[in-house]
Each structure stands twice: as C-alpha cells, then as structure tokens.
C-alpha cells in the first residue's frame, strides 16, 4: 500500500502503539484515585501534558485533553453561550467542526461573520478587522487548511484580536508535526490539536487555553481536566498523544525538509508527463508534503478508484458518509468552479513516504489518467 493521505489520518508510530499497549495492561488505575495504582495513572497523564506543552511552548497547566480536534473546537465555540459578546468571526475555509458548530449556535442567538479568502486560500487580517462588531467575542481561524495546506497569517490576526481585546482561537490540527508551533509567538489564546494527525492514536485531542481564560465544560460531571472535561481520562490515549507529540517534534526539521523534497519531486516528475496541471493553494507558505492538484478532464472520483485498485491512497473533495464525493466548499471559497473542483485531488505525504514511492505514484497516476482519457466517450 502506498499511503499518501496523511492529512486525513496518519498510521500510529510503532513506539507510540507499544507504549499504549503496555500502559493499558499495566497502568489500569483511575487517575482520580488516591492509591498507588491511581497515582501511577495520574503521573502518566501529567507526563503527557508536559510533553504536548513542550511541543507548543506553553505551561502544562494550559493544556486540557479532549476526545479529539472536533471536541476541542466545540468546547471553544460552545463557550460563547456564556460570553457577554456573542458574535464570532471565522473564515470560509474552516473545518466543519467550526463552521457547522457556528450554524448550530445561530439557534442560540450567537451570530457569526465568515470572512472570505483569496485565490490562494489566505485570510486577509484587514477583513477580520473590518468584520469586528461591538459584540465580537471570538475570532477563530485555522493555522493551516486541511485541503490545500495554506498557512494563515496568525500573527497578524492575533494583533487585530489583541487590539480589540477579542479572544483568538486557532484550529492547529493539521500543523502539529509538519511545522513548528509556538503559541507565544503566534499570539493565540486557544488552539486545538488531534493526536491521530501526528502519528498518535485516534479519539484523543488537546486544547491549549491560555492561563486566565475562564471556560465551562461541554461534557459535565466529575472534576477531571480542571472540571473542563468530565469523565475518566483515556489514560493510554493521552499518553500516546504526549509521546507522539514529543517524537514528532524531535526531528521536525528533517521531516519537514524530507516532505518538501518529496513534494518537489512529485511536481517535477508529474509535470514532465502531464501538461497543464493546476496546483491549488499558496506556493509560498503551505504545509510541506501537501499537494492539491487539478487535472483537467479527469474526474477525481474516477482517478481515486483507479489508484485504490492499485493500492494507492489519496483523497479528494469532501467525502460523505456514503463514500461519495461532493464539490469541496474550501475550493469553492477559493473561487474554483465546480467542474475543476471535481477534478481535484489531494496528495499528503508523511514521514514514512520515500522517493521511490513518489516515483511509483507519478507512474501509476499517469497510467490511470491515460486509461481514463482513452475510454472516455
């Protein structure tokens, strides 16, 4: 299997998996218990908190663990129901775990403004500035987009937020493990993460909440996670998240370089054999290894089947629960028409991909495209 869909999810790092297996066997205590078994479990959770805090340069006290990136986003947004200022500013290329939540919140009189992006998928901080109203309480802009990889100007947006004394949240799910993250430098107040995007387990995430920001839980009950997330901790998963974050940051520079090299190799070789390919996103500042390309006249779902039959995994558009593909709202927001939208695929490389695999990908894609063109009526 050639796996080129790391933006969807990553294979768990074998060392992380072994740690989880071990912990689930040996450290079965409840972190809330005061006996030795409980203490040991508590220690595991707190170690993980330090690991992720180190990764993003914050205090461990500023991290809470959740059930994933979507939950982290939800926790931030649903807190708007307790805010005095009930208007949110977001962008047109956010993940559904932001945009759909905001639609839901409209029913509770929480309004929002969606600022546009340019053809590269970039938010303009000035647009955010002019969208601010008297009752704006939150700005939420992703750090990098999951489909096209464009990195957003968070620092400039943070300045706008600070100027108006508005909380600034960012969905950082796609970035951890691909680019360095320093929440101090970025100037964000809150940031969401998901373990399975950086070679950790599925079903566990984290939320950075800058000290001093008062929040209420989404899942209410016991006092776990400073009463912000009730329920006995997913000890193994949390440990996996922490360890995965540590591992992925250790050689982040090398991994990024390697991903960029694979990306350049793909583009060079693929262009040689396939003229007129359009690459979407922001060439100058994007996630390394993420390639979003439009191949004119080739329906992406058809190409995906060809590749799947050759045991190659890439992705396209937004998949629905029946496995079919609809035009991507992100590409639409970037001004790409529906026809091109459905001729677009995403290739996202990861730490295990090799140069040889990229050659195979180019060769197989070129062959599949030829077959499709030959049989088109």
């Amino acid at each position: 299997m050639l796996y080129f869909d790391h933006s969807a999810t990553t294979p768990i790092h074998p060392d992380v998996q072994s740690l989880i297996n071990e912990l689930n066997q040996d450290i079965y205590g409840n972190p809330s218990s005061v006996h030795t078994a409980g203490r040991k479990a508590k220690y595991v959770v707190e170690t993980a908190r330090k690991q992720i805090a180190n990764t993003i340069n914050c205090d461990p006290k500023e991290i809470i663990f959740t059930g994933g990136g979507s939950e982290s986003n939800n926790l931030v947004l649903w807190n708007m129901i307790y805010s005095d200022r009930k208007h949110v500013i977001t962008s047109s290329i956010e993940h559904p775990a932001i945009l759909t939540v905001l639609q839901q919140l409209e029913h509770l009189s929480i309004t929002h403004t969606v600022v546009p992006v340019n053809n590269y998928g970039c938010v303009n901080p000035e647009d955010i500035d002019s969208a601010i109203k008297d009752d704006t309480g939150l700005i939420t802009i992703m750090m990098a987009n999951n489909e096209v990889g464009t990195v957003e100007p968070l620092q400039d947006i943070a300045k706008v937020a600070k100027k108006h004394d508005i909380l600034f949240h960012s969905d950082g799910v796609q970035v951890l493990g691909k680019l360095p993250i320093d929440v101090q430098k970025l100037g964000v107040d809150m940031m969401s993460f998901s373990a399975h995007k950086f070679y950790g387990p599925k079903g566990v995430g984290a939320l950075y909440i800058k000290e001093g920001i008062a929040m209420k839980p989404l899942i209410v009950g016991g006092s776990q996670e400073k009463s912000l997330r009730a329920g006995t901790e997913n000890v193994g998963g949390i440990a996996g998240l922490g360890f995965a974050a540590e591992l992925v940051t250790k050689n982040l520079r090398d991994v990024s370089h390697n991903l960029t090299a694979l990306e350049i190799q793909f583009k060079t070789k693929f262009n040689e054999q396939n003229p007129n390919i359009i690459y979407n996103g922001f060439e100058d500042n994007h996630l390394p290894g993420l390639i979003n390309l439009t191949i004119s006249g080739i329906a992406s779902d058809l190409l995906l089947i060809h590749l799947d039959n050759e045991d190659i995994a890439v992705s396209s558009g937004s998949a629905c629960s029946a496995g079919t593909i609809s035009p991507s709202p992100v590409l639409k927001a970037m001004g790409i028409n529906d026809k091109q939208n459905l001729e677009t695929i995403r290739i996202s490389a990861g730490r295990d991909n090799t140069s040889l695999e990229v050659d195979q990908l180019v060769e197989t894609m070129t062959r599949a495209i030829a077959t499709i063109r030959r049989n088109a009526r």
């Binding site: 759909t100 779902d301 058809l302 629905c320 029946a322 496995g323 079919t324 593909i325 049989n375 009526r377």
Partner: protein
C-alpha cells in the same frame, strides 16, 4: 487474468447476489455504490445505511467497493422531468428514465473509464445475443420481472450489460444470500420511488409543488369533495380522496378518472368496475424500440401499462413518427398519462412508450 466486471451494488439482496454469482463464475468483480440523490433538508446522506450494507457485503465477499455520486445528473436528467410532468398533472415514472440516463448511461460510461467492458446490475431481466443484435428478455421470476423498467434501453447499452439474477426466482436469490452469510439476505425490498424512499409522497412533493385546492366532482356533475392539488392524484387512484359517506348512490369506493387542469377539477366515479375507468384503446408517444425497428403492423403483441401487471393482448397502429394507437382485446384499467406502456412479444421486451390522454 480473469475478466473484470463492474457491479452496481445498492446494498440490497438482488445486486449483492448478482456480485456473488459473478464472483463464483470467476470474474474479477468490482462493486460501485451509486448515490443519485442529495437530501436538501440536511447534510446527512440518507443513503449512508445502504452504503453500510454494501460495505458489509463487500467485506464478507472480499470485493472492492467504491462510490460514485450522480446526483447532479439525476437532478438534470430525471428529477427535472419528473417535476415538470407532475406539474402538468401527469404521473411520470422516474425509474425508466433513471435506467436510461443514469444506470445504463452515466454509470456505464463511468465503468468503461475504469477499463472494464461490461457492467452488471441486480435487475430481474435477461439479455440475449441473437444474429439481429441484443434482446431484452423478461426475468424468469415473472412476479419480479423488471424488464418494464428497462424498455428505454438500446442495443448498445444492453450489449455491455448483464443481469446475473435474471434466471433466478426471488426466493432463490434470498437463499443464495443466506448461504453466503450475507446479512442483507432478508432485507426488505425497496418500495416506491427511490429518492422519496419511505417518506410520505405528499409531503415530499409539496416541497416542490405547493398545494392548490379545488373541487372533486363526480362523473354525474355533483361536487363530492375537495382536493389538495391535482398533482397529488393519479388516474385510477382510490385511497386518499377524502370523500366521506353520504355522497353517491352506493357505498362503493371512489376512483379518479380525470384531471381537468385548466379548471383545477378532479373527476371521480364510483366502483372499480365503472366503465369510465376502462379503455380498449390508448395512445402512446415517444415510442422506443430496443431493436431499432418497430414490429410489423397488426402483429399480435402483449403490453403492460404498469409494473407487475399481467400482459394484455394488443395490436399497435403507428400514427406518425414515434406515436401509436394501441388496441387491446380486453379493456385495461386506468391508463395514466405519463406512465409507460411496455410492449412484449412473448418473453421479449420490444420497447414501449409514454401513455397519452386518449381523445375519442
């Protein structure tokens, strides 16, 4: 390497067994799940449950499964026509169009681009290659025969299609599914129009064509009730007329016999043996012949004016171009304009056309 074939898999028992049979025959089977309808009231895919069933089947049989979305094509080529017909008071049959435009066109083209030469579906029908080209035959299980829905196909799509369960009875299909351990072996047959599913038809159509109440008048000229809009009724319809007791001479049920569109009036009669419900003659338009040529004039044929109806002996007389008058030996019940009349020579489905209002 064995020959590759693409099966349109719906998650139901018929298409699942079609895939199973082809796999047993040694084909390299690839399954494709078609999504032809986007629910506009929410973002949730209503077909998700069926897809999960299809996934179950493929995992058990060890077959690859992919999905394709033809909802744009379906909307443009099938649903737009469906609505336009309803709007003018006719009763269209979207399934015959879906087969011509989607399953045996968009889907077939798609499969060909995957590099296969043939597709298979779970229809109860058969294809026979003869010296004069490909013929469409009825399914062996006459109570399930679906050739009625396939009459709009031509020789070329037929030559690239196979119906693996056409020689089986429904019971046998279910038995095979059970034997193979497929959890959908006892799944209920889908009923009604595919995109409406189990929903209430009136509520569905109301979203597109708002209510337009008017009078219900008996064939003797008396007002007997109020209707909600002519598009909600079909010629021959008995249920849902809402005509209470105290009307009419007998206690017999009421039936729709005519819709007068420009006056927004629904005409009804009493009793299912009322002569106004029957006719020996119907006219048909848009005649399509699978072989490409019409049968000899005056030849004794058989016709169905609705799915699963018994064949009725008839003769056809071409009028002009693609229209004809069809004479039946015995009167037929409630021929509804917009529905299809499908013509047979014994077990061969010759083609058919769209029923038009008959003017004496």
């Amino acid at each position: 390497m064995s020959e590759k074939i693409v099966v349109g898999l719906s998650g139901g028992v018929d298409s699942s067994v079609a895939a199973l049979l082809l796999q047993e025959q040694g084909y390299d089977v690839e399954c494709i799940f078609m999504k032809n309808w986007e629910d506009d009231d929410n973002e949730i895919c209503s077909s998700a449950d069926d897809y999960n069933d299809a996934l179950d089947v493929c995992e058990i049989l060890g077959l690859p499964l992919h999905s394709v979305n033809f909802s744009n094509e379906y909307w443009d080529k099938v649903f737009a026509y469906f609505l336009a017909e309803y709007k003018v008071g006719r009763t269209p049959n979207p399934d015959v169009l879906c087969n011509r435009e989607i399953k045996f066109k968009a889907f077939l083209d798609y499969a060909l681009q995957l590099g296969v030469s043939k597709i298979a579906t779970g229809h109860y029908a058969n294809v026979k290659e003869t010296t004069s080209g490909f013929q469409l035959l009825k399914g062996i299980d006459r109570s399930k025969d679906q050739s009625y829905f396939l009459y709009m196909l031509s020789k070329i799509p037929l030559s690239k299609s196979t119906f693996p369960i056409g020689k089986l009875k429904k019971q046998e299909v279910r038995k095979l599914a059970k034997k193979a351990g497929l959890p959908i072996a006892e799944k209920k047959d889908s009923t009604g129009i595919c995109f409406i599913g189990e929903r209430n038809f009136r509520q569905f159509i109301e979203r597109y064509l708002p209510e337009q109440p008017g009078d219900i008048i008996s064939n003797e000229g008396k007002k007997v009730g109020t209707h909600n809009g002519l598009m909600y009724y079909t010629i021959g319809q008995r249920k849902g007329l809402g005509i209470g007791g105290g009307h009419g001479k007998s206690n017999l049920p009421w039936y729709v016999i005519e819709k007068i569109m420009d006056k927004n009036i629904l005409i009804v009669c009493q009793g299912n043996d009322h002569p106004l419900l029957y006719s020996n003659i119907i006219t048909a338009s848009q005649l399509h012949w699978i072989s490409g040529t019409a049968p000899d004039e005056g030849k004794q044929l058989a016709a169905k004016i609705r799915y699963r109806q018994k064949d009725k002996i008839c003769r056809i007389e071409p009028v002009n171009g693609d229209s004809a008058i069809i004479y039946f030996d015995e009167p037929v019940f409630a021929a509804a304009p917009g529905q299809s009349v499908v013509l047979y020579d014994d077990e061969i489905c010759l083609g058919g056309g769209i029923i038009e209002p008959y003017v004496n």
